[in-house]
């Protein structure tokens, strides 16, 4: 394989994007066929590149160290495989779910452009092309959200601004890093996080976790869950953005800066991770909409990854990265099953659904597997990666973070019990559209991606040795002390350790919590979280959260609006008054005087002319002297 091959993961989807955009809306299956074929080809390409592992493409560009440099190595090859896989599944799913969308041309164009940019960002080995690809994602993100409901534009702007802010921080960090190291080639950079480099680290970290959707940069995701198309949710926040954000975070902590175990920066990451886990899952628990509930989990789960990587302990990092790919699989599966429900019933409100397992067995099965996986039930993949993160948190020396992670596990399982119970099991709601018309299982292109993802969740759990040794563990090669083992597979599924015991206890607690809430709520599953919701102090906090008090974006908008109001009333209006009233009135008065002088009398005009002659003669006379 020549280095030029590295251009294909970028060029192929970009070309497909253009083609998909050019095909007229009326043409039905042709666009879908091309997209599906191209994404399948991308999977093949990604695996082929994964087999090659090491490839570099360097093209001098603008000088000053700015070059178009691409580098394929184990980590980026692994992310390429993941991106291509999700792209294929989403495309397959979209062939049915998005068909008939009035802006279908744009949809496929944005999706494949996203794939091209994401591949480019992953492969880039120079910060300039990296920033180009990374910022390009902002545009497609905006475009994809606007494809949703009419109200989606506001959310699109919100997502754009929040992500833009994070990206701005990242560029700032890159700038500092450049000044410190004097190079823009990513693979040549390796600095100790000291002095100004700490600022660079924090700035770039904001860029990475902002892309992944960690708190407090998450607030657009729950809004998008309602406003944007569900395929977008499964595509970007669930899969692509997690892979990209965590990829960048891992690169920062492993390669660019050497994050030390127990250092202050490690602590910062772990605090962000733990806070994200707990706060987001508490919000997820009380949600009354299926998609919104899932979106808060998409935020919460990022916390585990950040916590795992932040521990700076090999097992924690492996756990965090494994959790990244696991999460992408089951969260994608969960969003897709929510989309499947929405496709048949037209709603995702929990109280309007119920008992769908009988009529939509495959969707229900896929959902169940993915839900159990995200909750960390043995022997699914979520169990393996979470256990590793728990281990890592304990090894880092801060037990408190492990406790936070366990608290997160309790509420994660509780909220999925509630969701599953309300949507697929339990009695059918009277408000359910199912009561009106018979509901069937969704068509194959919708069900197959869900089932594939569910199967992968099982495989990655039961046969965890395979993905861990092929994909994850080699990433750490060269990053651990010589002689230290990086094989963590032996005790991955072991049930008889204290940590696994606590995890299982958490799940039991969650089950009890759900059962208690269900009974309290009059055996209505969607009310099962009400005891927590109504808990004395929590209740107030929840109310604030629902009113977006903690949403930095919304608060920022309020502050800016206030500032704009003050400026408008205090400065703009007075200036405007001068223009609007004083100047125009003076001008009109002046014009009025002049107009009055124009009486239309010939004698007057003649007198002016002669007066003018005298004046000019006098003037020239004076000037000549």
């Amino acid at each position: 394989m020549t280095p030029n091959t590295l251009l294909w993961p970028i060029l192929l989807p970009a070309i497909v994007a253009v083609i998909a955009f050019l095909i007229p809306t009326r043409v039905k299956w042709f666009r879908e066929a091309i997209c599906l074929g191209a994404s399948a080809a991308l999977i093949y390409l990604a695996f082929a590149l994964f087999a090659v592992k090491n490839l570099e493409f360097r093209l001098p560009w603008m000088g000053q160290g700015i070059g178009f440099e691409l580098r394929l190595f184990h980590f980026s090859a692994f992310i390429l495989v993941g991106l291509a896989g999700f792209l294929f599944l989403i495309t397959l799913y979209s062939t049915v779910k998005m068909s008939g969308h009035p802006r279908i041309r744009e949809y496929y164009a944005y999706v494949f452009l996203t794939a091209a940019l994401a591949n480019g960002a992953v492969l880039a080995d120079n910060f300039v092309p990296f920033v180009f690809f990374w910022e390009g994602l902002l545009v497609t993100l905006y475009g994809l959200i606007t494809l949703g409901r009419k109200e989606a534009n506001r959310t699109a702007v919100k997502a754009f601004i929040i992500n833009g802010l994070c990206d701005f921080c990242m560029i700032l960090g890159i700038g500092i890093l450049w000044a410190q190291t004097g190079t823009l080639t990513i693979s040549q950079i390796s600095v100790k996080p000291e002095g100004l480099a700490v600022v660079a680290f924090l700035m770039m970290m904001i860029g990475a976790i902002g892309k992944a959707g960690a708190m407090p940069f998450h607030t657009w995701i729950p809004d998008a869950a309602i406003d944007a198309p569900v395929t977008f949710m499964a595509f970007m926040p669930a899969a692509f953005e997690k892979l990209l954000g965590i990829y960048l975070l891992a690169r920062i902590t492993l390669d660019l800066f050497k994050l030390e175990k127990g250092s202050g920066l490690s602590l910062v990451l772990m605090i962000i991770g733990a806070a994200t886990i707990v706060l987001a899952v508490m919000m997820a628990l009380i949600q009354k909409d299926f998609k919104r509930l899932l979106s808060y989990h998409a935020v919460s789960q990022v916390g585990y990854m950040i916590l795992g990587i932040g521990t700076a302990v090999p097992i924690g990092i492996v756990g965090g990265l494994f959790h990244m790919i696991n999460h992408a699989m089951y969260k994608c599966g969960l969003f897709l099953s929510a989309g499947s429900v929405e496709y048949r019933t037209g709603t995702t409100e929990l109280k309007k659904l119920g008992g769908l397992a009988k009529v939509m067995p495959f969707t229900a099965a896929g959902f169940t597997v993915c839900a159990l996986a995200i909750s960390g039930v043995w022997p699914l993949n979520g169990f393996v990666s979470k256990e590793m993160i728990f281990h890592g948190a304990i090894e880092s020396g801060y037990v408190i973070f492990a406790i936070a992670a366990w608290v997160g596990a309790i509420f994660t399982f509780a909220s999925f019990l509630k969701a599953g119970h309300s949507v697929f099991f339990g009695p059918r709601s009277e408000e359910s559209p199912a009561a009106v018309k018979p509901i069937k299982e969704s068509p194959a292109p919708i069900v197959i991606p869900i089932l594939i993802l569910a199967l992968l969740c099982i495989t990655f759990g039961v046969a965890n040795k395979l993905p861990l040794t092929t994909f994850i563990q080699p990433i750490l090669e060269g990053h651990v002390e010589a002689g230290e083992s990086i094989d963590f597979t032996p005790h991955a599924l072991s049930l008889f350790t204290p940590i696994a015991g606590i995890s299982i206890l958490c799940l039991l607690l969650a089950f009890g919590l759900h059962a208690f809430g269900w009974k309290k709520g009059g055996k209505k599953a969607y009310l099962a979280s009400e005891p927590v919701h109504k808990f004395p102090v929590l209740h107030t906090i929840y109310d604030w959260a629902e009113n977006r008090v903690f949403d930095l974006y919304e608060q920022g908008v309020i502050v800016l609006n206030g500032l704009a109001m003050v400026l408008f009333k205090g400065i703009d209006r007075p200036i405007d008054f001068v223009y609007e009233k004083i100047i125009t009135k003076t001008g009109e008065a002046f014009a009025g005087v002049l107009s009055k002088a124009h009486t239309g009398h010939y004698a007057n005009y003649l007198a002016w002319c002669l007066g003018g002659l005298v004046a000019i003669a006098a003037l020239i006379n004076a000037l000549l002297k």
Binding site: A591, H598, Y602, L606, C609, G612, A617, I620, L624
Partner: protein
């Protein structure tokens, strides 16, 4: 060959009434437009090569005997010839439709051709008295054209115009007589040479004052402007366009610049320069404010013409190469844009029967071509980039700053804001907003009228985009021949 610019329109004008007896519409249309097209092609294609080696002097001869009639082409004359032929060509096209119901077409074309002959002659002559003759030729034709509608207002306006113009002519004639008395000759170069040898500063200053009054009246500089807002709106729209776009510049600005630069030898910062700049600045400001109050569309345009001629005089009056170039470029841009706007007002008047802005409203919906082209013209005169007017005003303002006239530069900038103000009033009242129900059945102007306005609008846009090329190929030769003076070059040819 140069005589064709004068002779051809004059001869065709003479035959036109006779042709009108035979064919009322078609033949006059075709013939007049053919003449305009021919003159345009002649000015654009042949003129440049003709003066490639410097100014060209030709004497008229009769049966082999040379007559004392000499005409000359230099960069400035050629630039004016080009501007005249360009605008009259568009106006000729416009008149095909517009003049159909407006009296005798043949007579109209005859008068128009006579005016063109007068203007062309004016920019080609080489002595003061010939200049006076052609000034009168163009003026007499314009009196008749202002009165062409033969209604009460038109006759009154024409009479007022005539009476004030006569005063101007008298002042010019007195000045010419004084100069003849002082120097004993009439040729530009000869008078200029003789004046340099004389110590008659105050006498020359008085002549200059008389010229300023006379040509200032023709150019409608404040305070000699009062006839224009009556005369220009009264004429048929294409004639308004010629009067405002060309005549006031040819018989006013051109003559003034020619005499002041090539006879008196205007120096930057000298008395004449200062007098012109003050006059220009007063015109700009006063007329701009007068325009704001107008509710008659054509009157507003007329006041705008006074204001814009002020810019031209201000630019030329600075006396520096940049100032002259800016003034001439503005002359050209204003000729195109104001011609366009008067044609638009004619289209509206023909479709709706009114010139009152308050009665209009929302016409853009019914007359999209007129609305769009009028917007282009308005924005150009108001100096909005990238249209032509922006560049010429920019050059004038830059020249003012360069020559150290900061105050006047500020005045020029502020006045252009006022210009934008009244043009926006005009656009809003006439074209934007809700359609007045009265005009629900109004139709867009007929083909030739629309074609002429579109052509002018494209020229306005083009003159903005290619302003650098226009400056290089037309303006620079013109301002050079002003700066050098005609005399040196003509002496080289062994002239008079």
């Amino acid at each position: 060959m140069i005589f064709l610019f004068i002779g051809l329109p004059l001869v065709v004008a003479a035959f036109m009434p006779l042709i009108g007896k035979v064919s009322k519409k078609v033949a006059p249309d075709v013939l007049a437009n053919a003449v305009f097209l021919f003159l345009l092609v002649l000015a654009v294609t042949s003129g440049r090569q003709l003066i490639g080696q410097g100014p060209v002097l030709q004497s008229l001869s009769w049966l082999g005997e040379p007559l004392a009639i000499q005409i000359a082409v230099d960069g400035f004359s050629l630039f004016m010839l080009m501007a005249i032929s360009l605008v009259t060509f568009c106006i000729g096209l416009y008149s095909i439709n517009y003049m159909t119901h407006y009296g005798s077409k043949a007579n109209f074309y005859a008068l128009l051709l006579m005016m063109v002959a007068g203007m062309n002659g004016l920019v080609l002559v080489t002595d003061l008295f010939q200049l006076y003759i052609f000034l009168e030729v163009a003026a007499v034709a314009s009196y008749a054209l202002v009165a062409f509608g033969l209604e009460h207002d038109e006759l009154e306006a024409a009479f007022k115009y005539l009476m004030l113009s006569v005063v101007a002519s008298a002042a010019i004639l007195i000045a010419i007589g004084l100069l003849f008395g002082l120097t004993g000759s009439l040729g530009f170069a000869a008078v200029g040479d003789a004046l340099r040898g004389l110590d008659a500063k105050l006498a020359v200053g008085f002549c200059a004052a008389l010229f300023i009054m006379g040509f200032g009246l023709k150019a409608a500089l404040v305070p000699f402007h009062a006839w224009l807002p009556d005369a220009h709106p009264s004429a048929p729209a294409p004639i308004s366009a010629v009067l405002s776009g060309l005549l006031i510049k040819v018989s006013g600005v051109y003559a003034l610049a020619r005499i002041f630069y090539n006879v008196f030898g205007l120096e930057a910062g000298g008395a004449l320069s200062q007098a012109l700049m003050i006059l220009g600045a007063i015109s700009i400001v006063v007329a701009a404010f007068l325009a704001i109050r107008q509710s008659d569309m054509k009157r507003m345009l007329a006041y705008s013409s006074i204001s814009q001629v002020g810019y031209v005089v201000l630019g030329i009056g600075i006396g520096t190469p940049l100032g002259v170039a800016g003034g001439l470029l503005h002359l050209f841009n204003h000729a195109l844009a104001k011609g366009l706007l008067f044609l638009n007002s004619g289209a509206i008047q023909q479709s709706t029967g009114t010139r009152n802005l308050d009665e209009m409203g929302g016409l853009a919906k019914r007359m999209p071509v007129t609305a769009a082209t009028s917007l282009v013209g308005s924005l150009s005169i108001a100096g909005v980039p990238p249209l032509g007017g922006f560049w010429s005003k920019l050059l004038i303002i830059m020249a003012l700053v360069q020559a150290g006239h900061g105050v006047l530069a500020v005045v020029a900038v502020l006045a252009s804001v006022v210009t934008l103000w009244y043009y926006l009033i005009m656009q809003r009242k006439a074209f934007f907003g809700k359609l007045n129900e009265k005009w629900a059945a109004v139709k867009e102007a007929p083909f030739w009228m629309s074609a002429a306005t579109v052509l002018l609008a494209l020229l306005v846009i083009g003159s903005g985009i290619f302003f650098a090329a226009i400056i290089k190929s037309w303006i620079q030769p013109a301002s050079e021949s002003l700066a050098k003076g005609l005399q040196t070059a003509l002496h080289g040819l062994g002239g008079f």
